[in-house]
Symmetry: C2
Subunit: 726 residues, 2 copies
Amino acid sequence: MAAQSTGNINAEPPEDSGTADERDTGLDALFSPKSIALIGATDREGSVGLALAKNLGAFPGTLFFINANKPSVCGRAAYPNLASIEESAQVDLAVIATPAARVPATLRECAQAGVKAAIVISAGFREAGSSGAELEQEMLFEAARGGIRILGPNCLGLMSPHASINATFAAGPARPGTLAFISQSGALCTAILDWSLRERVGFSGFVSLGSMSDVGWSDLIRHFSKDPNTHGIVMYMESIDGVAQFIDAALETVPRKPIIAIKVGRTKEAARAAASHTGALTGDDAIIDALLHRAGVIRVDSIEELFDTAELLSKTASAPPKGANLAVLTNAGGPAALATDSLIRSGGRLCQLNESTIQTLNTLLPAHWSHGNPIDILGDADADRYAHSLRTILADPHTNGALVILTPQSMTQSLATAQAIIEIQRAAAKPVLASWMGGENVAAGRELLNAAGIATFDYPDEAARAWMLLWSREARLPLIAEARRVASLPPAPMVEARAALAKHLSGITTLLTESVSKRILQAAGIPTNATVHAGSEEDAAAAATELGFPAVLKLHSQTITHKSDVGGVRLNLENATAVRQAWRAIQSSVPETSFDGVSVQRMFRGPSLELICGFRRDPQYGPVLIFGAGGVLVETLRDTVILLPPLSRMLIMDRIRQTRIFTALKGTRHFREVDLDALADLIIRVGELALAAPEIEELDINPIVFEDGLPLALDARIACRYGLAS
Amino acid sequence: MAAQSTGNINAEPPEDSGTADERDTGLDALFSPKSIALIGATDREGSVGLALAKNLGAFPGTLFFINANKPSVCGRAAYPNLASIEESAQVDLAVIATPAARVPATLRECAQAGVKAAIVISAGFREAGSSGAELEQEMLFEAARGGIRILGPNCLGLMSPHASINATFAAGPARPGTLAFISQSGALCTAILDWSLRERVGFSGFVSLGSMSDVGWSDLIRHFSKDPNTHGIVMYMESIDGVAQFIDAALETVPRKPIIAIKVGRTKEAARAAASHTGALTGDDAIIDALLHRAGVIRVDSIEELFDTAELLSKTASAPPKGANLAVLTNAGGPAALATDSLIRSGGRLCQLNESTIQTLNTLLPAHWSHGNPIDILGDADADRYAHSLRTILADPHTNGALVILTPQSMTQSLATAQAIIEIQRAAAKPVLASWMGGENVAAGRELLNAAGIATFDYPDEAARAWMLLWSREARLPLIAEARRVASLPPAPMVEARAALAKHLSGITTLLTESVSKRILQAAGIPTNATVHAGSEEDAAAAATELGFPAVLKLHSQTITHKSDVGGVRLNLENATAVRQAWRAIQSSVPETSFDGVSVQRMFRGPSLELICGFRRDPQYGPVLIFGAGGVLVETLRDTVILLPPLSRMLIMDRIRQTRIFTALKGTRHFREVDLDALADLIIRVGELALAAPEIEELDINPIVFEDGLPLALDARIACRYGLAS
């Protein structure tokens, strides 16, 4: 069972299965049962049992109503219980609307009757306090024993429109269509259903998750992944149950079907005590962002976007763009300027037309055409001019797709132009988007385009954003494959690092000193500068002489975290005398019990970029890495990204490219180019350490500097779980 | 005349007039003429002249058709020319659709006939090359001589729906309404018109600007500002004509009527040679952003937002929110979570309910209500429960407004709840927004709310964003007043700084050295560290000894801009010997002709935050200041904002609060709090210098550091206009 687990995302490397189709999600009984029993069917006005009885009435398969007290419900014969149904009848799906207290017993009966799946509509479980939680455990026990999958409890139910099933107590039914909608809010289901009927949006499945006691995100994603009626999955999420399984299921699905999600709960962001920079920089919402990105799920911010995006992606699935280069064909400059602006703002670009394309257009078009992209073929463009131009543009190898803009002007042929576009698009292997701007004048043309499956937009700025969405989905596919590949690799053992940890951990140790932390990093294959612990003034002077001047002395303390705050850091010590003075200064600046000597290092002579890399172990999401601009301003700059291990160079580049500091890594006037491979390898090692050493609760490396282009951990801090002894 | 000027925004301090109503924009003849003459009226099928003749047919005032060759047009008597119209008839507005070549002569006739304004539809002027440009000058000359205001040329015309005027060759007419739409794209006008008819959006004015030879943005803004039919102004902009007048007109208008604009042209951003950081960080689009912000204009990114925003703001104008605190009333948790997320993401907050409000709600509501904000009154809430709750919430002094969410559930009373909300809102002085989610089930309630002028949204996330828009408009009003106040102050004379400049400028000087630049800053009242120019090794050693060790030596060169690139900066020189060595090292690292000695400073001992402040003189926008995170990573961090002088502490705080580095200015673990007033004063001085010293083309102060919390310019560079001698 997928639910209940809140393990870290790396707990279970996924099986090496090519497609989701090879797996059985066991949910067929939920979505395409041959027979259904409604337990708790009733005629009582306003009751959930009556609403369900009415909605299920349309089910073309075998339907049984169960009511302990009445011989018939809604004019259909009712059975007192499942056992009383004739032996030959097999019930695949039970829809349960009895009081919560009766649900465990009902499931026991279901198990005896060979029921395969149940939808528990009833409320009064976990959400109703501790006695409800006990009831829920009983229910799950009975279900597990009987091999029954449960949707719910405390849910609206589900609809499977292609099987004519409406097993909800909402109005309905939903229109059959190609989108699967999964929602953690029942009320939202009701509202979306109502809206979908008005807007004529159809569904392959419509699921209210309820409390997710058993069936959760990954089960449903896997189910819809192999469901041929489903072309895209749309989700309203409030929480994620099994994170590893979620990512695994999504990665399997998204190469063939887009998943689009809205995830709420930004405000639940617990105020976490910021013992480390990593802690301060990894809020829940930023992790969710990283997690959905890793899983290939497209996150949107509004309900409107949720369905717009799903519709767009399912419409254009047959001819995805092979690159980001868009050609804009228009009969007016203003709308093309809008499209261009919107394109550039979304990170896209206009393609540079081939010289030969320009030549051909010169022969086809009036002299005043724009002679570039956007291709403005002027206000008097008729359908033929549009057609010739579009054919020429799509033949250009630099063009990955086209946006055709039409504004209603006196010579404009809205309908004929639409017809021409449709024919050309059918023959071309490149996507074409359209914006037929205006109302009545262009309505017929717009309808024709829509009916032909060409994504059509009221405004060209929307169309340009949609183009970037298409392309970014396409551009992500290699990263999806890479994420699956690394997830299938065995974890790095990190034997030396764990041995080093074991040596330095004691039952009461929680915060390791800088020099111990660095020893562990070195054992993990992360380069650090030489750092020597000195227990006396003499040792410090000797160590500094050995390492070379100028030296740095830093307080070595089991209890004081932020050394510089208490004057515990002395830089630029030019000779042994200065080192001895610094020793005494540090010693006198902290309480005796906090003073365990100093660590001695050679002073790093910049200039260097300063980066941060670290991780924090999240109880729900497992280890969460950050990377970005470091140094003392790290929390001010907030120029970091979150990465989820296991990692690879490719996955790392995808993420760290999002930081502003990344541009400086390629060299600036003040800093030489750094070795990005070496940097990526350092980040990989941090991820491996996070996975291999559960003793480590938090790790901050800040700053990472560069020497001859190679990264070097200049300061580090490891915090371990209290009570984990060697 | 407003057009043609591209002067800087400070060229003309605005008159100290309280309201726009006191001014005559001279455009009444355009929008409410008593009589109109169409010059170039014709019966020729497909001609612009015919389309205009037909559209103007609905004009209830006096209408004359002018056609040199025909006695009648469209069944109406035509005159061969204006002079032939009976003497008693006064023509207020001429609509001109003759060939471009005839337009100047036509305007001469107009002037003789006492015409007050003209719409020049004809194309073939500036946009058609140099002969067209000449024609345009002739036209403007005739118009100016006759005191005639001109809209166009090369435009679609205008509509004044409340006066039943459609002086365009588009279809139409537009519906009368409360929005004024001004567009620089004629094609977009056509499409928006078409769309507005479908969506039942009405206009008080509908203007195609064309080439803006005469009537421009500020004229039209001023006109609609005093037009009682106009409640909001909506603009599609490709360029800004007179920047100072634009800001002035907008600042006058926005306290009473919102202005919402979409501005395209992000891609025209010329690749400007980045001689300075300021140059690199002040792209056109960022300036436009700052300019519209300064002017109080709301900039949006899409056509959809343009009208949505306008509709929202005009609907809610009567009861604007007095603070950002929103209460969310709902019958379901999921939609409230969506609203909350969206609110927080837009920078808003949920209000904390008063304890007494909670008590009252406890007595009104079932025990399971959410006991906090969002106020979830549960799925079975009827109209009465909504009404009681809303009344209680609005009475809470902590609440600035409410969003009421309704999802269709079995007990939900969509229509009755809407009625109750409307009554309560009428009595309250606080704004109420609504989201009636779903389709058919809630349609009647939604329509009722809309009809009662309550802004209603399909989804609660949209509603939350709308709330923030309302509040941010309200929150900006004091800044609008401040911008008007500082614009009315006399510019600072900066006598000493100009004298210092004059002393050091020669005809061939373009780049001033660091020490000269700092002397000018000091004269302008900007604190800098002591910096001495040394022409010899001995002088350098003596200066360093005088200023104190450790010292810094920097190359002093008329030709080399980036000193550190060539090894021209030597830090941390501990004694006179080190200074002498550094002198020789710098001297030997650059060509003899580039070496003009060194500047000597005492080494600044950090740590300190490093900031940048500077300006660049833009040919279109005048002086453009930047402020933000400085140091060597300034172009990587891109943590800067643009400010337009003249400035004040209040205007500066509004802008610099947007930088990430701002949080550190209030103190961090590593940096003490800085004196924000002193910092703002430094920025004010930079702005004053920019306005007072047109000789200065660019100024970079980077870094600005802090000593005892006070800002200090540690390095500076001034570039002057070539050829401006003292």
